[in-house]
Structures are given as structure tokens and as C-alpha cells.
Assembly symmetry: C2
Homo-oligomer: 308 residues x 2
């Protein structure tokens, strides 16, 4: 067994944590979205990489859904006093990651090298690879104009109506150089926003083609339950893009690149619709409240892969 898991933000990281409890570091590699990365106050911020590292290290702030536990905010309050940009909240501990990453990258380290180093220092054994070492930036085309992802997501709180999405730089970016796609025996697309977290990866040369043509099982887990996202703007964005916000739409979105699709058990009634797309389908408890939920879903998803 050698699994590759594609993941974005908080939802994806939940399943990632479950998978990491079952598979060893040689059996499981993570490929994480960097389309949300941005330059802020001169620092390279990589929200999805950090969410994954913090989650796997057991130091994420689970109630906030971003940042670290045991965080302090002295930097932020002083920056506010100075009249600095505070729309993107930076905790003191979190800041050390951004400063250290940016410093090492300015000295010539790649994002991959820095991410592996930071993960290792936090005690994370599983390889976490950014989708690319080249900058790919998700740009949201909205009724209010073009917005960089974090401006849309954090500053504007996803309020502007989305017209379309662009993954700037994806056409020239190379897939992570450490990633040997031929090594894997299955691929799992974690329950992340398809348009914001997974599509940026699929837009990078090679990955979509590999997934579309491989004979190994590729399984996606729905980020929607009963037509709604547990967190984040997936459902709202789908409606704005003129799509029906349900799991079948997501399955259809992925149908060229996956062989199997996991619905939530509450959407069992949609199994036949998914199967009619030519996909294997199963319905599982995808809502993960506890660590046990995460492990249970991970195990069932791996079993589903095995069955394909």
C-alpha cells in the first residue's frame, strides 16, 4: 500500500489525520494545495500547508478552524497599534513559521524543503509536499472584480459573488519534484473544496492526465453533505457558478479523474446518480467530529479503494 492523499484546508486535514493514524510514513504521502499561498507583510504564508502540518502535529486550533492552539496575540495587537495590516490574523507562534519559512526560502531553499523541515520539527513523520515549488495563485473573479484568494476568503469573508476562478501560474508551474506518481497504489482526494483546493492541483501539468489515465484506484470523498458544506464557501460558490450544490455535482466534476466516489451516508439516495456517471460509489459517515470518526472514515475509504 502506498497512498497519495490530495488535500486543501480544514476538511481535508481531518481525513488526512485519520489516514496518518493508519498508514505509516512510507505508506502515505500528502500533496497539499498552495493556491491559497500569498505574500503578506513580506512573508510567504501557506495556509493549507500549515493547516495540514498543525493538524497532523496535533497543535491546530480546532475551535477556530485555522491557526494554532495555545496561541498568543501580542504581535497582532502591537501591529494594530502601529496601524499595520491586520485583516489577516497572525498569532505569535504561527508567525515563527512564516518568518522562518520566508527566511529559508530567501536563502534559496525550496518550499518543499522548508515544508518538510518544518513538519519534521513539529514531529510530523509523513511527507507533506506542496503541490508545486512554483507559485500558483488562485484568483477569484467576482462581481466586485478580481480578488486574490485570501482577500476573497478572509478579508471579504467569501461575500462577493463568484463568477469564475483562475489558477495563476498553473500553466507554467511544475508538479512537486519529489512526487513520483508511479510509486503509488491509490490516490485519495480528501473532502476539500473542489474548486479552491483540488482544482489548483489538477491544473498543474501532469497530475490531471495521470489521474485520468492511471489504472490504480482514485477515490474522492465528498465535501458536501445534504447539499451543504460543513465549513467554507463550497455550496455558496457552486450556486454562484450556476451549479447544483450537491454531491452528485462534485462527483461529476471529478468524474474524469476518479474511479470511485464517497458520498455521505445521509446522501445514500444519490448512490445511483453517482454510479450512472460510471463511477464506483459508496456512502459512509463523512462527518468527522472525533478522532475516532477520522480514523473510521480513513479505514473505510482505504477499504473502498481496495475494493475497486
Amino acid at each position: 500500500m502506498k497512498a497519495l492523499a490530495l488535500t486543501g484546508g480544514v476538511g481535508g486535514a481531518k481525513l488526512a489525520l485519520g489516514l496518518a493514524q493508519i498508514l505509516s510514513q512510507t505508506e502515505l504521502t500528502f500533496l497539499a494545495n498552495t493556491g491559497d499561498d500569498f505574500d503578506h507583510l513580506g512573508m510567504h504564508i501557506a495556509p493549507d500547508l500549515d493547516t495540514l502540518v498543525y493538524t497532523l502535529a496535533g497543535i491546530s486550533n480546532r475551535s477556530a478552524g485555522w491557526g494554532r492552539e495555545d496561541e498568543t496575540w501580542s504581535f497582532e495587537s502591537t501591529l494594530e497599534q502601529l496601524g499595520g495590516e491586520t485583516w489577516f490574523k497572525l498569532g505569535d507562534r504561527d508567525l515563527a513559521v512564516h518568518v522562518h519559512r520566508t527566511y529559508l526560502m530567501r536563502q534559496g531553499a525550496s518550499l518543499t524543503e522548508v515544508t518538510l523541515l518544518i513538519a519534521q520539527k513539529f514531529g510530523v513523520a509523513h511527507p507533506i509536499l506542496p503541490m508545486s515549488d512554483d507559485p500558483v495563485r488562485t484568483v477569484v473573479n467576482t462581481r466586485e472584480g478580481l480578488l486574490s484568494f485570501q482577500r476573497y476568503f478572509v478579508e471579504k469573508q467569501c461575500k462577493p459573488t463568484v463568477l469564475s476562478l483562475r489558477y495563476q501560474g498553473a500553466d507554467t508551474a511544475e508538479l512537486n519534484p519529489e512526487l513520483s506518481l508511479d510509486d503509488f497504489s491509490c490516490v485519495i482526494i480528501c473532502p476539500s473544496n473542489p474548486y479552491l483546493s483540488i482544482d489548483p492541483m489538477l491544473a498543474i501539468g501532469g497530475l490531471r492526465d495521470f489521474l485520468a489515465s492511471t489504472s490504480i484506484p482514485v477515490v474522492a470523498v465528498t465535501p458536501l453533505v445534504k447539499g451543504a458544506a460543513l465549513k467554507g464557501p463550497t455550496a455558496k460558490m457552486m450556486r454562484e457558478l450556476g451549479l447544483e450544490s450537491n454531491a452528485v455535482t462534485v462527483a461529476e466534476h471529478y468524474k474524469e479523474v476518479v474511479s470511485g466516489f464517497v458520498l455521505d451516508q445521509q446522501d445514500e439516495g444519490l448512490l445511483e446518480s453517482v454510479r450512472s456517471l460510471g463511477l464506483e460509489a459508496t456512502a459512509l459517515q463523512t462527518v468527522m467530529s472525533t478522532l475516532d470518526d477520522r480514523i473510521a472514515l480513513a479505514r473505510q475509504v482505504l477499504d473502498f479503494c481496495d475494493s475497486i
Copy 2:
């Protein structure tokens, strides 16, 4: 009355605070050493500017002699966990100043503009001008080789034997563009290290010549009492440079640029030696333990200026 005060680190800032209690923002301007500035983790750190701002704002850490009061250290402890460079301690609140300054400077603001903005945000009304907007870097030539100032001062704790000092960039740097030397009616050289804090300023074109030729009173306050510095490496460095570590040596060092020199009252016996250099001299209580001490010395130094 329009006074210009030249100042470096903690000792200078003490008298600066006293002066600021007596003279209004239109009557008093500070010119601060930036020879200690350095680039650290991608940030522009300006220790003497920050010491002065924090001191005048009443938020300096008086027991440590550097940094801020009410500081937290989450950034530092996380950076240590990450294996980052922690020889130069950065508190969480202090860090906001460095990040904000660096960010604004990368956007094109000058060090002067940023310093005035930061000081204003912390409620400091008196103008604080960096000696230059151009980089001047004090390099310490030691038995262990050339060391940048902070490596010598902080990392090596002033232990290497000093052979000589260089002020890299001083020959091409321009004096602060906001500084109109002709506006002032007196100049006070605060009790800072002559070689590390004041000489970098005097090495910049124009200032030494102005002070040497002006008819306004220029008064230096000794940083040495009974041959010893209250803080820092002044006395040790003087001995290593082959100089006698006492106030007369400092007076001689300054004699071309000052018209008067303030000894400590414990060195009253040296008054005649200083006068024999052709300088006006007085002996005052230069050891400043309380705010009242700072104000009292400031008032007496201003009176001494008036008397010249």
C-alpha cells in the same frame, strides 16, 4: 532654544528621556545611531532607534536594558523549536515593529519616514531621526576576525578583543535629509559609547565638520564614571584599543567637535585635565537611576550649554 541630541543605546536614551520632559517637540530633536542596524531573518532591525522610541514612549524594559515591557515570547520559543536563529532575542511585541518597518521600507518608505510613523503611533511627539537613510554598518575588527556589530555585541557578548572599528558605508552615506543643522541653538552628545554610538554619526559627511566649526555650544556628557561604564563595553573596548579608560580620554576624543564636557561628580578631580584640553567643563550627577535623576541632569546640561 532648539536642541539637537545625539544618542545611541540605553545610556543615551536615559538622558534623552530627561530632555524630553523639559523641552517641547519643537525645541528638541533626536539624532540616533543606526550603525547597529542589521538585517535579521529578513527584517530590518534598528536597536538604537527602538530603544529610544520605547524609552520615550515609556514602554521600554528597564530591567533588561533592551526590548519592551510586558513582552511575550511565543515567537521566540516556536522559532527555537523550528531550529531557527535565536541568538538575537525577538519578543512578540517588538517583532511587530520590525515586521512593520521592513514591510513599509520594502514598499519604498525611508527609514526616517517609518521611524517617525512608529514613534508617533507609540505617542512620542519629539522628532526621532535616524542619522542617515543610507545603510551605515559598524563592523568590529577583533582578534577573532571581522564581526558585524550585533554578532560582536549580542552573540559574542563583547568578549572578542577589539582591534579597530569601521563604519561601513559612512563615506557615501548622507546625513538625515530632515536634519537642518543651522536651525539648532545647541547640541548635546548623550552619554553613549563614543566609538559605537556617536562615531558612526560623526563619520557621516557634514556632521563632524559642522560641529567642529559651529559657534553654538556643543556639549558631551561622559559615559564613564570612575573609569567604568555603567553598562556596555565602553571601558573594556577602550583598554583593548590601547586607551586609558577614563572620562578625560573621552573628552580628548571629542575635543575637536565639542565646546563643553560634563564629567560625573565622582570625577570632579578630572575637571582641570578636561579644561586643559581647551574645553569648558563641569561635574554633575550623571548616574541616572530615577526619572527625577534624568530630568535633573537634563536641566543641568541645558544650563551648562547656556553658560557657554
